[in-house]
């Protein structure tokens, strides 16, 4: 069974979703939870069976799909994708378990299960086209979730979300086809296998163009400034579950793809574009933090904060050092947990008051102390307090980039300041002060169902902040192989110098030279 565990992980939810059409409406929630739980346990088993000492791909599966065009059904995971898969199954489970939506629950759960398939698929795919298939397919359930269960502007938001990402992905697709064509020219065979592509060393000017093509697809997904404007709408209109999944998992596809595609395929271009991208990352960090500070709607604050955090992830990714890339992968998980939790929390208050405007609240801390506590913990995690999950990622990402540029890291480091500003002021507006709005006076504190969703997230946020090793170690091993691959493939002098050579025993020397 372990031989096909990835296929099972991908298609089990989809199959269950199909069968879900038969299940009656009132039992649907239980069914959904059961399926998501089984899936989650399967993903945990995957972790158990995963050998953290092996840096390469594990649980590989391969079957030709379109042989004459080199497309094959190729799956496999390494430390980078393993945890994002677990995160996906985890959040699907939590999302369904803490679902408070009452309209058309059946459709919603079926959609969520399909979405789960695409999420797992994206992170398990090792063939570019299979990756692309899941990548695009993930838009559809999300489109439906936002469009059918969203707020007043839901149609605008969902269409914008879909078209924006769709456009970007198509450019990426052209890039993929180019890549395959280069492979064809080099070897005389078509192949879309990423692992095969890793072996190609492309001329630098080709790398630049291809990098740009991939970049557009990924950057819109992440989303990076200035392609980010779909995100606030999507989050603002999406139902809680939609925002949670979107923030926790779907955004990670973009950053994951950077590590899976852009870095190892185009090491020289990655170095070439390192600084422009770092500048964009800084804009994301500071500018969106400012925008978040100006928001009146608490969900929008969290939405913009996501962009800001994604900026740090991008920065860590383009640090091109083991520390930075590991940190960014870890931050993906951290940000997933934290922003997912924050969106769940916003959903809690939205369910009670049907508004998300901070001016409507105030003094919630005295009415809903448990809620305020959990929100506080998650806010502090979001701000990146040590011993919470985000700190590890942010610290490592910034640390990693410091090797490349001091000034940029210093500027990007303001993330810890501006992040605190908008988060604390939002918290203050909503939770502190006297209770001014009579409607807030008798609000109920978080109930058991909601606790069910939130407590595990709190536990994870702190557990991985205190003891990140079980996750960080496999990530590190896989990242090391990526970095080494990049170093080996790099052609330009600058790229060779910037990307550390790990096989070099006197690693410290190269570090000194970089200064």
């Amino acid at each position: 069974m372990l031989d096909h565990i990835l296929s099972i992980l991908i298609f089990f939810p989809a199959l269950a979703a199909m069968l879900g059409f038969v299940v009656t409406k009132d039992s649907m929630r239980a069914y959904g939870i059961a399926v998501a739980f089984v899936e989650f346990v399967l993903s945990l088993w995957l972790w158990y069976a995963y050998d953290p000492m092996i840096s390469g791909m594990q649980f590989m599966e391969s079957a030709p799909l379109i042989k004459s065009f080199g497309i094959s059904y190729l799956l496999g995971i390494d430390g980078i994708s393993l945890f994002i898969i677990i995160l996906s199954t985890f959040f699907t489970l939590l999302g369904i378990a803490s679902l408070t939506e009452t309209r058309h629950v059946k459709n919603l759960i079926i959609t969520l299960l399909f979405l789960e398939m695409t999420m797992v698929g994206v992170f398990a795919a090792l063939d570019a086209i299979v990756f692309y298939v899941f990548w695009e397919l993930s838009l559809v359930p999300m489109l439906y979730i936002i469009g059918a269960w969203g707020g007043a502007l839901r149609i605008y938001a969902s269409v914008k979300f879909f078209l924006y990402t769709f456009t970007g992905s198509l450019v990426m697709l052209v890039g993929m086809l180019f890549m395959a064509y280069f492979y064809y020219q080099a070897t005389g065979q078509w192949s879309f296998s990423i692992l095969e592509w890793y072996r190609l060393i492309l001329p630098e000017n080709f790398q630049l163009w291809l990098f740009a093509a991939f970049f557009i697809g990924f950057a819109i997904k992440v989303p990076m400034f200035p392609f980010h404007t779909w995100l606030p709408y999507a989050h603002g209109q999406a139902p809680t579950i939609g925002s949670v999944i979107l923030a926790a998992i779907l955004l990670k596809m973009g950053t994951y793809a950077f590590i899976r595609f852009s870095l190892p395929l185009f090491p020289d271009a990655s170095v070439y574009f390192m600084f422009p991208i770092a500048i964009i990352a800084i804009i994301m960090i500071i500018y969106t933090a400012m925008v978040a500070y100006a928001q009146e709607d608490i969900k929008q604050v969290v939405a913009y904060s996501s962009i800001s955090h994604m900026g740090i992830i991008i920065l860590g990714t383009f640090a091109l050092t083991v520390e930075g890339v590991s940190g960014s992968v870890f931050l993906m998980i951290g940000h997933g947990v934290v922003s997912g939790a924050l969106f769940l929390l916003v959903g809690v208050i939205y369910d009670r008051r049907h508004t998300k405007l901070m001016s409507e609240f105030g003094g919630l801390a005295s009415v809903m102390p448990r809620y305020a506590t959990i929100f506080g913990i998650m806010m502090m995690a979001s701000v990146g307090l040590p011993l919470t999950i985000n700190f590890v990622g942010e610290f490592l990402s910034l640390l990693g980039f410091y090797k490349q540029s001091h000034m940029i890291t210093l500027t990007a480091g303001t993330a810890i300041i501006v992040g605190a500003i908008y988060m604390l002021s939002a918290y203050k507006k909503a939770f502190f002060g006297p209770v001014t709005n009579e409607e807030n006076r008798n609000l109920k504190d978080v109930n058991r169902t909601e606790m069910l969703g939130l407590i595990p997230l709190v536990i994870v946020a702190i557990w991985l902040g205190v003891y990140p090793k079980p996750v960080l170690e496999p990530i590190n091993n896989s990242v090391e192989s990526v970095i080494q691959l990049m170093h080996d493939k790099a052609q330009s002098q600058e790229a060779k110098a910037r990307i550390p050579n790990l096989s070099d025993v006197s690693g410290m020397n190269s570090m000194q030279e970089a200064h």
């Binding site: 078209l163 400034f225 083991v322 307090l385 490592l396 640390l399 939770f431 002060g433 990140p468 690693g507």
Partner: protein, 628 residues
């Protein structure tokens, strides 16, 4: 010994978690007792560890890995050595006292359980800070105390001013933390490790420029936590928190973390005396600057807060001049008498129903004898009168300045010592002497619970006798810190200096008494002095908070709004929509090509053909021309 280490470290955490369990429920005294008991346990363990360390050993444990990736390896490692054990003692003593005191002080507060949870959590963070064996662990504690400080300043979260002050403190500390983070990054990429022992062993091999930058960035971190100019404004505002918090966090422990960092990183600062001079100069400046603001302030707690700030300046002078052990010594002594002062102020506040203006008090010594005695003695200690603790530590710093030939610094510190004595006794005089002005406001003061006074008594004792530990202490820390003795070798000058200083200080005290002990009215802002420029300048804290508000806070908010409403919505997003709309509009505007009229359709076909023919002819002509 490791067991004691873990007990000392984790007992507060257990207390905190235990209290947190009851966080949302009604008050249970149990939380206070348990938390205090665990703190006492922690204190006992620290004492045992001190005893062990006095025997010449140190304890170093590595609990588990925290972060490990690439070459980076950060464990949860803890070290109890000569420096950290001193800090541990200070922290556990003061916090035990404050915990017990708080049982009484917070007696009627709804958030009693929550308070103890935060307070113990703070102690845990502080213990992590001082006991960590690497910079990252230090940073954990560093941020942890920041968090707890946020929670405790904003403890009464229904008050706007409290939450504002909490956020201000947190954010300002974050600014400094960024500096510290950068310092840590530099250390890692230059040394390859963040462990103290490795760093200090390797630091000498680095180019001085890098060491200098490392020193500067670490010190920026220290500036935030220890509220040095220009990041000082949060400390005075932090007085919004409950008074025990001010005593523990904003006087005795957290704010001294910056000093501790410099002391801890002495091998780095030893290599960069220029930075040291800067630190010392800044410290001297802050000492004077803060003392001047304390002169006119009318908020009891703020006066003490400025005094704290001023004393921190002293410590940085010592640390900056390389007299690390002196700095640490003053840190310790200061912790005792300043915490005592704050707790006394807490009693007064309780008695006065949270009134803070000393001008509205007066004559309280009759009803609050115990508090009066304690606060007076603490003030004497603060003023540095022989044989109280302050004399041994503070005058030593003056001597350091003198011995190191920094006469300007020396003069400034001397002047500050006078100011310190003045404002301390201005406060004491206004509160405890003179007419009972509080009667105007219908307040019936009463002395605090007896056990609170008992709880404070260890601090009183220490404030009096701490100076006598000086030699023991010196013996202890010279294992780790540069063991320079600062003595003015010329006996005459030494005596002149010592006695002169004492006389100067006593003079200042007498002046304060003379001026304020018979005060009989509440100033209403009409007196000549209150209208003078100097007074206004000091009263408004040199307009610095206002300056920050006008130059940073408000523009930042305005800019944020512009960023959102003008840039994000009107430019970035509008561009995207514009592209989409342009495509759509093109369709709208050109769909009439298909007007349903057959003639038009046929004409389009012929038009297409004609265009093709025209292009064909043009191409042929061009082709032939090129061909020919």
């Amino acid at each position: 010994m490791e067991l004691y280490l873990y007990i000392a470290l984790f007992a507060p955490l257990v207390g905190s978690l235990f209290s947190a369990l009851f966080g949302a429920s009604a008050k249970t005294s149990l939380t206070g007792y348990v938390a205090s008991g665990l703190l006492f346990t922690s204190f006992i363990s620290s004492v045992l560890l001190l005893n062990y360390v006095l025997g010449g050993h140190t304890v170093h444990v590595e609990m588990m890995t925290w972060m490990a990736t690439g070459n980076l390896y950060i464990p949860f490692g803890f070290v109890v050595d000569q420096v950290s054990v001193v800090m541990m003692m200070v922290v556990t003593i003061v916090s035990t006292v404050v915990h017990v005191y708080s049982i009484g002080y917070m007696d009627h507060d709804k958030g009693f359980n929550r308070f103890f949870s935060w307070l113990s959590a703070f102690v845990f963070s502080m213990m992590v800070l001082v006991m960590s064996d690497n910079f990252a662990g230090l940073f954990i504690g560093w941020e942890g105390v920041g968090l707890c400080s946020w929670g405790l300043i904003g403890f009464w979260y229904h008050k706007e001013s409290a939450t504002w002050a909490a956020n201000e403190a947190f954010i300002m500390n974050r600014i400094a933390d960024l500096g510290m983070l950068i310092g840590i990054f530099m250390l890692y990429w230059n040394v390859g490790s963040l462990q103290y022992d490795v760093v200090f062993a390797e630091i000498g091999n680095l180019p001085v420029v890098i060491t200098t930058w490392i020193g500067i960035f670490l010190f920026i971190g220290a500036m935030g936590k220890s509220a040095q100019f220009p990041l000082h404004t949060w400390l005075a505002d932090a007085m919004e928190g409950p008074t025990p918090v001010s005593a523990l966090i904003h006087a005795a422990t957290m704010v001294t973390a910056g000093v501790y960092l410099v002391v801890r990183a002495n091998p780095i600062y030893d290599l960069i005396p220029n930075v040291g001079i800067f630190i010392a100069s800044l410290g001297a400046f802050v000492a004077l600057f803060a003392a001047s603001m304390a002169l006119v302030n009318r908020d009891m707690k703020r006066i003490i807060a400025y005094s704290t700030l001023s004393q921190l300046g002293y410590m940085f002078v010592a640390a900056g001049l390389g007299a690390y052990w002196v700095a640490l010594f003053h840190l310790m002594a200061h912790a005792f008498f300043k915490a005592l002062l704050f707790l006394g102020a807490g009693n007064v506040m309780h008695a006065m129903h949270d009134e803070l203006d000393p001008f509205k008090m007066g004559g309280l010594r009759k009803v609050m004898k115990g508090t009066f005695v304690m606060m007076t003695l603490a003030s004497v200690a603060l003023a540095g009168i022989y044989p109280f603790a302050g004399f041994f530590s503070k005058d030593l710093i003056l001597e350091v300045g003198f011995v190191e030939h920094h006469y300007v610094i020396y003069t400034v510190l001397l002047l500050t010592a006078g100011l310190t004595a003045f404002y301390s006794f201005r406060l004491v005089a206004l509160i405890f002497h003179g007419e009972e002005r509080y009667k105007l406001f219908g307040i019936h003061p009463h002395e605090a619970y007896k056990f609170m006074l008992v709880a404070m008594s260890p601090l009183l004792v220490l404030a009096i006798i701490a100076g006598s530990f000086k030699m023991t202490y010196f013996q202890l820390v010279m294992n780790l810190l540069p063991a320079t003795q600062y003595h003015v070798h010329n006996q005459t000058i030494f005596w002149i200096m010592t006695i002169g200083t004492q006389l100067f200080v006593i003079g200042a005290i007498l002046f304060a008494y003379k001026k304020y002990s018979n005060w009989n009215s509440v100033p209403d802002g009409t007196s000549k002095m209150e209208k003078s420029f100097g007074y206004k300048l000091l009263w408004n804290q040199y307009y610095i908070p206002k300056f920050y508000e006008e130059v940073f806070s408000r523009p930042y908010l305005e800019l944020s709004k512009v960023a959102w409403k003008e840039i994000d919505l009107k430019i970035v997003d509008a561009t995207v929509d514009m592209i989409a709309n342009a495509i759509y509009k093109t369709g709208e505007n050109t769909r009439d090509i298909q007007n349903g009229n057959l003639s038009t359709m046929l004409r389009w076909m012929v038009f297409g053909l004609v265009v093709l023919l025209a292009l064909a002819v043009a191409f042929t002509v061009g082709y032939n021309a090129v061909g020919a």
